[in-house]
């Protein structure tokens, strides 16, 4: 196990460098000159431009820029955005917001998605099952931005239960509606995945054995059925948590949440190279760690999988 983790961590290094290099190249190949854009319509003073270019290392060849940038990152210096704000500060503001929103969404995926799937899976073909299938199908087929605006209109504007936009992301109650909207798609997948998995395992031979042993029904279901059925669901949830951390551009946009997705979207529009590369670098790390955790979790849940 220790060897496996070590190998996985070592594998992360080339992935990390490759991913950041790609992002770096893509951002700097975007058309337009960010320094010129800073001056708007006014004619730029050549001396100031040269100065700024030097300050942002833009006068160096690309490979030197990249090495310089990577060197800084290894010293945990993400550079300065073109507005003069350190990128690390921008991230320090955005990430906690996104983490809170992601956790709220994740919570809903588990407490709503799992039980729905469990009920539907245990009573296949029942009215409850049909309802779950129907509702999840609707949720999957409606785009998030439609669902988001409908939810906003109904619950904030018509019913007035919540504020239309998030005023303070530290107030969890304000994150309930955006969290639900953000969770909706994955929630539907969790419910369906759980339902399928339960349905399959329900017919497994070991379930028949568990019943034949005379175990009470709650033990048969809670211990034997769930332990096996939740393996694919837990791995899905793990990957999804990584994805949620990447921020939700649409949801954050609708509810005006200053999270990672929102910041990233603005940075791309404004060709804020340092901000984009900085945030994406952190996201790459989050993804890599999340997928490692999922793999390890898989081994814990299913003893047949052992990593040498």
């Amino acid at each position: 196990m220790g060897h496996y983790i070590l190998r996985r961590v070592l594998q992360m290094i080339p992935v990390f460098f490759g991913a950041t290099l790609l992002i770096f190249l893509m951002v700097y190949s975007l058309p337009g000159d960010p320094i010129a854009a800073m001056f708007g319509d006014k004619a730029a003073d050549p001396a100031t431009v040269a100065n700024l270019k030097h300050q942002y290392y833009l006068d160096q060849p690309l490979w030197k820029q990249y090495l310089h940038y990577m060197n800084n990152i290894l010293h945990l210096d993400f550079g300065t955005s073109f507005t003069g704000r350190p990128v690390s500060e921008i991230m320090k503001d955005a990430f906690p917001v996104t983490i809170r929103l992601a956790l709220v969404a994740f919570f809903f995926e588990i407490v709503i998605g799992l039980p729905l799937g469990l009920i539907a899976g245990l009573k296949r073909g029942s009215i409850a099952d049909t309802l779950v299938l129907l509702i999840t199908l609707i949720v999957i087929s409606i785009p998030v931005f439609v669902l988001g605006y409908i939810a906003q209109t109904v619950f904030a504007i018509n019913l007035g239960w919540v504020t239309a936009t998030v005023q303070d992301s530290r107030d969890i109650t304000q994150l309930i509606l955006p969290g639900l909207v953000l969770a909706s798609l994955s929630l539907a997948y969790v419910a369906r995945l759980t339902r399928t998995s339960i349905g399959e395992n329900l017919r497994a031979d070991y379930m028949r054995t568990a019943v034949a042993k005379g175990l009470p029904r709650r033990t048969v279901i809670g211990r034997h059925l769930l332990r096996n059925s939740l393996i694919p669901v837990v791995t899905f949830l793990g990957t999804d948590l990584g994805a949620l951390m990447g921020g939700a551009i649409v949801t954050e946009g609708i509810f005006n949440i200053a999270g990672v997705g929102n910041v990233l979207y603005r940075a791309i529009n404004q060709k804020e190279g340092p901000t984009v590369v900085g945030i994406v670098t952190v996201l790459v790390i989050v993804y890599l760690v999340a997928s490692l955790v999922v793999d390890l979790l898989y081994a814990v849940l299913d003893p047949r999988i052992r990593y040498a």
């Binding site: 070991y206 054995t209 019943v211 034949a212 042993k213 175990l215 332990r227 096996n228 299913d302 047949r304």
Partner: protein
């Protein structure tokens, strides 16, 4: 024991003298979209303490379904039991409450399944799965249950039981896994064990070891044993009596040696003839022609008639009852019956 129990049968202290298990006119059907599958059509058999009944038949003959009906582990629906009784110590289990039946399962009647790998839970250690018996039925705590599990693994001669108690099913060999299944069935010293093809998934050498172990433990605990198999070789050494099933009916019953020596039903005859024999090396192997019937459309009359070399007109119209088999002089042979109109001819031609 519940009060209902006390009204319908003698108090627990009085020894029960009748058969442990008495299956009477059992019918099981599966209601599917394509129609009603009649899997079991009036099965009668009984097992006494210390006795081994072998139930023999091809796939789809209803032998496993009967066993599952006895255990109460059929999925109902789609399965249904429209008729029949399953008497355990004289009480009809089909009339018991769910909770009463659950208490019998594993504790009084236990079952061993064919494929131990898929029948054991892959994500729980074997020791835990063994210990569950004590935790569910005896209220043992985790630690006691584990100690009992080690004891059980020793009983079924699993080497290094103490070290292996935390291992998972996939870490054991096929034979060892089946020993664990046997240990699980044995855990609470039940009155009756139903073994559904316990050795089919094993190598021949391991088969013999597992069968010997099962027979030994059965004798030691004086348990009844129902051995379900399609393998005539497995049966010969361990069974006391045999019931041969075909299309959900028992077509022949006999003490084990009588059946081998002189079968009284053409189907049994066919089964015995299809065993490969060394003295017939090089000759074509005998096979019963045709296929087992589709249980959605069991042929009228004797279900075996389309495949039977002896079939006459009557076989296509009337269902033959299980008739008492007698000697030439008319004295009935104990425990022998044949559901064939021409059992006499079959018996003597052998």
């Amino acid at each position: 024991m519940s009060t209902v129990a006390d009204q319908t049968r003698p108090a627990r202290e009085e020894p029960w003298t009748g058969p442990l298990l008495d299956v009477r006119n059992l019918h099981v059907e599966f209601r599917t979209r394509d129609g009603v599958v009649r899997a079991v059509n009036g099965v009668n058999y009984s097992v006494a303490a210390g006795e081994t009944l072998a139930v023999l038949g091809e796939s789809g003959s209803g032998k496993s379904v009967t066993a599952q009906a006895i255990m109460g582990i059929l999925d109902m629906p789609p399965a249904a039991i429209p008729e029949g009784e399953i008497l355990y110590r004289g009480r009809d289990m089909l009339k018991m409450s769910k909770e009463e039946r659950r208490k019998i399962r594993g504790q009084k009647i236990a079952m061993i399944f064919q494929d131990a790998l898929s029948s054991l839970n892959p994500v729980l250690p074997v020791g835990f799965q063994l210990g569950e018996m004590y935790r569910a039925h005896r209220g043992s705590n985790r630690k006691e249950a584990k100690a009992k599990a080690i004891e059980l693994m020793d009983r079924v001669r699993i080497p290094a039981a103490r070290e292996r108690v935390g291992d998972y099913p996939h870490q054991f060999s096929g034979g060892m896994r089946q020993r664990i299944m046997i240990a699980m069935a044995l855990a609470l010293e039940p009155d009756l064990i139903i073994a559904d093809e316990p050795t089919t998934a094993l190598d021949v050498t391991v088969q013999a070891q597992v069968m010997d172990l099962l027979a030994e433990l059965q004798a030691e605990y004086h348990m009844g044993l129902i051995l379900i198999t399609h393998d005539l070789g497995v049966v010969a050494d361990v069974a006391d009596k045999i019931a041969v099933m075909y299309a959900g009916r028992i077509v022949e019953t006999a003490p084990v040696h009588d059946l081998y020596a002189r079968p009284a039903h053409p189907y049994t005859r066919g089964l015995l003839d299809s065993i490969p024999r060394l003295d017939q090396k090089g000759q074509e192997l005998y096979a019963i022609k045709g296929l087992p019937p589709n249980l959605l459309r069991i042929p009228p009359g004797c279900a075996f008639n389309p495949r039977c070399p002896r079939a006459q007109e009557i076989c296509r119209h009337e269902v033959p009852p299980l008739a008492q088999v007698t000697e030439d002089d008319g004295t009935p042979v104990a425990g022998r019956g044949s559901a064939c109109f021409f059992w006499k001819e079959t018996l003597h031609d052998g």
